[in-house]
């Protein structure tokens, strides 16, 4: 017993020292949806640990903030609905209609409406988050998934996984205005912070297609190469940019790494080893940390943006899927 106790002291002291150095940062709540557990894990960005677990509907996947960050919206895919939770009390506020099998969604920058990809129905459903009314259903390709919105709010870009396209949807008319072919199984569409480009990740194709947002034409395409990792295992999914537009992080699925990419040159600067089957990413609001959801290892890796090293892996629920950080 004595032996065990003395052994514990050293790491505890080191951890306390670590805490002291980071407590100056703001504490954010980071919400992680656990696809196979019907829960959301709430992580404190300073303590770097799970502080609460919210019980949700079946198969929680896409997760975002709404209503001036008062609400947390979650796609409960197998229940065919969007659940709204209070970000302070973690209580269920209400249920929004979503259309069948909602997977990912994005909120218009003005705060409303919500654009939902219905993976099983080849449509994007547009929902008013306050009235709960379905405003429109936009036909897209087979298995709609990724949802990106331009910073000016004019376009939503949806990706269809089996049609292999990025569909530009006009947010006024709710019509597709352009359909751009990308590589196989596009998962995520993300606008650069200046709105100039849309990056679309292709999971099976193994590439990122860069689309010029103004001309809606493919501008560039790049892929990844990691020594010792089979090319077939490099499957880009989540894409996030720092607010200053200087850093892009791309989650590479079963390659178990996040690529740090220079958004100007499209060159990969570093591969950061994280947990297994990394899919989605989120910055903390201060852009100092990036959280990654590692589906197969049931944890999230927390990357320190200053050093691009993993600070810690935090155990969450089974098959973590989506992640979003709340400014506190």
């Amino acid at each position: 017993m004595k032996y065990a106790r003395t052994r514990l002291i050293a790491p505890a002291a080191a951890f306390a020292a670590l805490l002291m150095t980071v407590t100056s940062a703001n504490a954010f709540k980071v919400f992680v949806s656990n696809e196979k557990e019907q829960t959301i894990s709430v992580i404190d960005s300073v303590k770097l640990e799970v502080i609460h677990t919210i019980k949700t509907g079946n198969r929680p996947r896409g997760i975002i903030l709404a209503n001036s960050n008062k609400w947390l919206l979650v796609c409960a895919s197998d229940d065919n609905r969007v659940e709204v939770y209070d970000t302070k009390t973690f209580e269920l506020v209400k249920i929004l209609p979503s259309g069948p099998d909602p997977e990912l969604f994005t909120l218009h920058p003005s705060g409303n409406p919500l654009f939902i990809a219905n993976e099983d129905d080849n449509i994007v459903t547009v929902v008013d988050i306050f009235t709960g009314k379905i405003l429109s259903e936009v036909p897209v390709g087979v298995e709609p998934e990724g949802m990106g919105v331009s910073p000016d709010g004019k376009f939503v870009v949806n990706t269809s996984e089996t049609t292999n396209m990025a569909h530009f949807i006009d947010t006024k008319t709710y019509e597709t205005v352009e359909n751009i072919l990308v590589d196989n199984r596009p998962r995520v569409a993300e606008f650069t912070p200046d709105g100039g480009e849309v990056w679309v990740s292709a999971e099976i194709g193994g590439t990122i297609t860069v689309i010029d947002a103004a001309t809606k034409k493919v501008k560039s395409k790049f892929s990844f190469e990691i020594q010792g990792v089979n090319k077939d295992a490099i499957q880009p999914v989540g894409v996030k940019f720092s607010k200053d537009g200087k850093k892009a992080y791309v989650a590479l699925g079963p390659a178990n790494r996040v690529a740090l990419v220079d958004p100007k040159t499209y060159k990969v600067e570093k591969y950061i080893l994280v947990g297994q089957r990394v899919w989605n990413l989120a910055f903390t609001p201060d852009d100092k940390q990036v959280y990654t959801t590692n589906g197969s290892s049931n944890d999230v890796s927390i990357i320190d943006v200053a050093t691009d090293k993993v600070l810690k892996s935090v155990k969450v629920g089974r098959y973590p899927w989506g992640v979003v950080a709340l400014p506190e």
Partner: protein, 449 residues
């Protein structure tokens, strides 16, 4: 006995949203041919012209010259033909395994709908035609007619002999055959044909998929039971090859020759229960029973009835498959749902093999933005071609024999147990080439270098 008939089917001009629904409720318009394939051939003639001309001209121009009115949008039409040899196969042991009349065809319809959803955005329309015949010669003749009328892509579910006859009948035409039904290694080896692609894996690929898992489990001592049919013997040969490759030992082989008789009789389990233990008695210490019974005469009777309590793999117990109605891996849920909504039944292996073939054509047409047969065939054979098929990685065709590389599922009746290649089986190009005959060993010469 069904007679020769041809069916024409297309997702046509339905709205994308309504697409799945429309297909689900409408039955296939059956065109009873009565007298050979002329009606269909005539019907298909304009499209065929368009295809032929598109070799020299942009598809838009070709289309405008066809029957389409000048004001209509320029839609490139791409015809895909499914050829089915109706065979009299013995009924399976289990009622659950009785093939539906549209086995394979369901997959062709889903792939055509998937192709057309994409096609809507790039002005391509895919049209599925079907020819069926129980006489191989007549089937070959029907297909040749359809190919002459503009169907360049032929998906075949037929006996290996018929596949070869088709390949030879079409060898001077701008057409490609997809073999979706025969796992015979020889079709990719000594009897390979440059105008045939194979979406169904070979027996040696299936055997290696199983062998890798057994190696991982350290089930290294096999007791093999082989059925009486020629196919069973070929599968046994594949298992022997796999055992050698992965260091397993076949402790003993027995051939099952007992005639099980009528499968529909009431009862019968009493006899099986007596018979199987004695059949599997007195084998030296082994780890696993490997059953080679493609004919489906006795395999299902082996599990739980062996003299020694041992796991059963092969064609019964834990078996290999390209697809399974319960697979939800890699986004498979929506794929299964789409199939069920459209066909009102489970998504079977042959459906999946056919789906991959029809989607290959769609993928090539999308990427090449063309309906030109020669161009699409060339593209499908190029290293650029890749197919996403709900297997967690891209699938490609082997350049030396036209075989589609793919992960193989190891499943039970209810769901998957694992997927091969297993971790640790490495390859310098792609781990998928640890399954089956690899390039340095191939006997196929038709593809050149």
């Amino acid at each position: 006995m069904r007679s020769a008939r041809a069916i024409s089917w297309s997702a046509g001009h339905v709205l994308i949203r309504a697409c799945a629904l429309a297909l689900a409720v409408s039955t296939i318009p059956v065109v009873p041919l009565g007298m050979t394939g002329t009606a269909i051939a005539q019907d298909a003639a304009p499209a065929a012209r368009a295809l032929d001309q598109s070799a020299a001209q942009p598809p838009a121009a070709a289309e405008a010259r066809g029957t389409a009115p000048a004001a209509a949008p320029e839609i490139t039409k791409i015809k895909i033909l499914m050829a089915r040899e109706l065979r009299d196969l013995p009924p399976p042991l289990s009622l659950l395994d009785i093939p539906p009349p549209d086995d394979g065809l369901g997959g062709a319809k889903l792939a055509t709908a998937d192709n057309n959803t994409t096609g809507k955005f790039i002005k391509q329309e895919f049209i599925l035609d079907v020819v069926e015949n129980e006489k191989p010669d007549a089937l070959v003749a029907d297909v040749a007619k359809m190919v002459d009328a503009g169907s360049a892509f032929v998906v075949v579910d037929a006996a290996p002999k018929t596949v070869l006859a088709l390949a030879d009948a079409l060898k001077d035409k701008s057409a490609i055959i997809f073999n979706a039904g025969s796992p015979d290694d020889r079709l990719r080896e000594e009897d390979c044909r440059v105008n045939v692609k194979h979406t169904i894996p070979t027996r040696s690929m299936f055997a290696d998929a199983l062998g890798q898992f057994m190696a991982w489990k350290r089930w290294n001592r096999w007791f093999m039971i082989v059925g009486p049919t020629p196919e069973d013997k070929m599968l046994a040969e594949a298992y022997r090859r796999t055992a050698k490759r992965f260091g397993a030992k076949i402790i003993e082989e027995r051939t099952y020759t007992y005639e099980p008789g009528s499968r529909r009789s009431d009862g019968g389990f009493e006899q099986i229960q007596q018979q199987m233990p004695s059949f599997t008695q007195n084998v030296k210490e082994y780890d696993v029973v490997v059953v080679a019974d493609e004919g489906g005469l006795f395999g299902e009777y082996v599990p739980y009835r062996t003299w020694d309590a041992k796991p059963v793999v092969g064609t019964a117990g834990l078996y290999t498959a390209t697809w399974h109605p319960a697979i939800e891996l890699w986004g498979g849920t929506q794929f299964q749902n789409r199939f069920k909504r459209m066909n009102n039944r489970n998504f079977r292996e042959l459906d999946y093999n056919v789906w991959m073939a029809v989607r290959s054509v769609g993928e090539a047409a999308t990427r090449q933005k063309s309906g030109n047969a020669a161009k699409l065939i060339e593209y499908m054979s190029s290293p650029e071609f890749e197919l996403a098929a709900f297997k967690g990685q891209k699938l490609t065709y082997r350049s030396w024999n036209g075989q589609l590389r793919q992960p193989i599922l190891l499943v039970t009746g209810k769901m998957h147990v694992t997927v091969s290649p297993q971790p640790g089986f490495l390859h310098h190009l792609t781990e998928l080439d640890t399954l089956g005959v690899d390039k340095p060993e191939t006997k196929c010469k038709a593809f050149g270098k």
